[in-house]
Amino acid sequence: MNARQGFIGQSVERREDARFLTGRGQYTDDISLQGQTYGYFLRSPYAHARITSLDTAEAAKAPGVLGIFTGEHFKAVGGLPCGWLINSLDGSPMKEPKHPVLADGKVRYVGDRVALVVAETLEQAKDAAALIEVEYEELTPVIDTAKAASAVATVHDEAPANVCYHWGIGDKDGTDAAFKNAAHVTTLSFRNNRLIPNAMEPRAANAVYDPNADSYTLYVSNQNPHVERLLMCAFVLGIPEHKMRVVAPDVGGGFGSKIYLYGEETALVFASKSIKRPIKWTCERGEAFLSDAHGRDHVTTAKLALDKDGNFLALRADTTANLGAYLSTFSTCIPTILHATLLAGQYKTPKIWCEVTAVFTNTAPVDAYRGAGRPEATYLLERIVETAAHEMKIDPAEIRRRNFITEFPYASPVGLTYDTGDYFATMNRAVEIAEVGGFAARRAASEAKGFKRGLGYAAYIEACGIAPSSVAGALGARAGLFEAGEVRVHPTGKVTIFTGSHSHGQGHETTFAQVVADRLGLPIDDISIEHGDTAKVLFGMGTYGSRSLAVGGTAIVKAVDKIIAKGKKIAAHLLEAADTDIVFEGGRFLVAGTDKAVPFGSVALTAYVPHNFPHDKLEPGLNENAFYDPSNFTYPAGTYICEVEVDPATGKTTIERFTAVDDFGNVVNPMIVEGQVHGGLAQGIGQALLEHGVYDVESGQLLTGSYMDYAMPRADDLPSFHVETAKGTPCTHNPLGVKGCGEAGAIGSPPAVINAICDALGVKDVPMPASPYAVWKAARESALNR
């Protein structure tokens, strides 16, 4: 019997759900080891200060204390590395001050790690930390993004004016010339608000040293365990990689914040050798607010030049990006490679010039957060396009259609080559689902109630699965951007897949199994997916940038194809046919054009019980791996339409409808893909309406350090969404024809929301987050100006 085929495209229920629904998930904090001890980090209460003395003597004598570690212990080891070198326009490399594991003489943000206390219990570690005597000499903090480069104080001595780099991309002279010939220029200045990622599982780690093998095991809530191992071993602690196992078990969300190598787990690994017992640290939520890498925080001025018909002639953007106090792992490529290269969007704008000044401030490090640079680019572009449409009295959908790219492949003026797309299809379908035709009547009904109603568009493009490694390397990447997969066929014909992609909510255990089940013609239950353990998986670059299926899935497909190729040779031997006459269909190897066949399971058994086996041509066994380095990014795109109702008396904004039509190419599991969009939309709408990481500009204290102060989107803040995955244009350069889907929602939604609010109020801009106060103020100013 052949297995049922056609898993690809089906909303198969998730195989991982059973354990999560019954409390059997195993997150890092759920793991307690024999002889477990506990770590606690003493953190800086100041944004910027010199440590004039640090005395741990009293604390060391406290009950249960096993060890105290400070910056002194880490003087001899490396700093936490930055994975992407950016060169300034003048050719000089970015400023790269050491990012110490524990503070070395200075603290540079509130929450900076000062000491690690290890004790028998967490309470004892906390009590002992309170006995550590630290004397600080307060220094003036640098907080405000826009003012950092003109501040008198400096975060790092080696970065004058707090500038990390001043970078640019595009055609400056061509852009300037195009502006001179413009019939209309639209200018917009805005801030892309700082966000705090807030995966629901706080970061956690548990490190143990095995003296017998002289090796370490680190359990850590992380999105890319092999990258974590490489960075920690090779760049910081000098531990040989084969002496370190990193396990990222069930991980409760990441959104970027768990890509990075942090000082906490590094300190734990270092300390575990002298403590000689496992050390567990679990971040409290308050600590997470202070110390997880934050996202966004750009201040931007953009100008769009148009001809009299609304055709885009040129775009110019100047952005200051706040990188925080130290360079987090991929911080430097976010405002540059992942931001400015997206500024063509879906449009054939012929000339683009973008300059980015990245600054250090006395705030938490800033790095990739869901979308990572692409939401900032999309916000810039989709806000200015919509503003230009209003200024020129052209319908916002129409101005976009006039400028859509229609021929592929398309080489953009900012370095990307889009392989495929159909922007009219997603726009037209979104307009249909959103019932834009009925908007005028709905607006009239709102106005009759004393409310304002607005409609906002965003037509986004995204670049997912950074690639290829050679190009990324030329642009400054210090890592490869391939993915690895292994297919281990067992003698019984069952299959274990090992993938370097990591699942922390994305459902790989289901989606990847669907792909393999179809390819091998096996029941899905015959396939299991392993990930998240460097001792099991040969290598991996992990999960970020919406790369898992396009890059990790392709690596698996390539390995599966090697299995089939070897299987054909074994089958040819068994069927006494030529290798080239064997085809693989529906889980059977058969001689083409005949009914002579051997099932997959028999070939597998033959590979491991090779009594009748072509030993002269093949090795026994059926186990293959593959590394896949994509030739290009994938380019998902879509149109989002937001419709809001605003109460001008209170400033309260209600999202009445939210429509998202996305082109993700081929879709393996529509249910999971739609779920990814829903989650992205919630984070994007959160950015637009609710979320804001705020530091006091005088003291550098984080004012939004808990769920009492940082407005996380809750169920009653959001509507149900109208989400549709378009029939789509399959990606042309991976065998599955898939594009990334994880970040789209967070990329396309903020400008759609703000465009809708601006439309409702008839104003040019409302700052994010569009809190009731901000909206009320804008409504009031608009009324006064009429």
């Binding site: 909303s11 759900d17 059973a18 059997r24 998930g25 629901m200 706080p202 969300g253 939520r285």
Partner: protein, 157 residues
Amino acid sequence: MGTTITLTVNGKSVTREVQPQTLLVEFIREDLRLTGTHVGCDTSQCGACTVHVNGRAVKSCAMLASQANGAELTTIEGLAAADGTLHPMQAAFRSCHGLQCGFCTPGMVMSAVDLVQHHGCHSEAQVREALEGNICRCTGYHNIVKAVQQGAAAMKA
């Protein structure tokens, strides 16, 4: 100075010594090793630690273990039938894709069961309002709301 408490946990009687400051969630996770109940914040906002105490949803970070003396405690591990059949709400979360990373899920499911058992009415708006004390970062709540409505219907059936 510890005190001894006796309570029923997922149908079984348990007697343990607890410290007066021990939170119920710490008792559940550390003493009982029932790690399905999660801690997602430190301000009683996120709801990941929601359990049932005497049949009502309680954030177990906001109650002392000693206050649970004599109580009937149900955690996520005790919700499915003894033979492993999922509770209708668990099944609805699965069929509606009402979970992604799974971290908020136990608390979300326990709150949803309480909502259905004690609050009766389940329009979309009511479900959204009732889940205000449970934060999810993955799903955008869209499929959670669907799951709760489907689970509610199944529980009444």
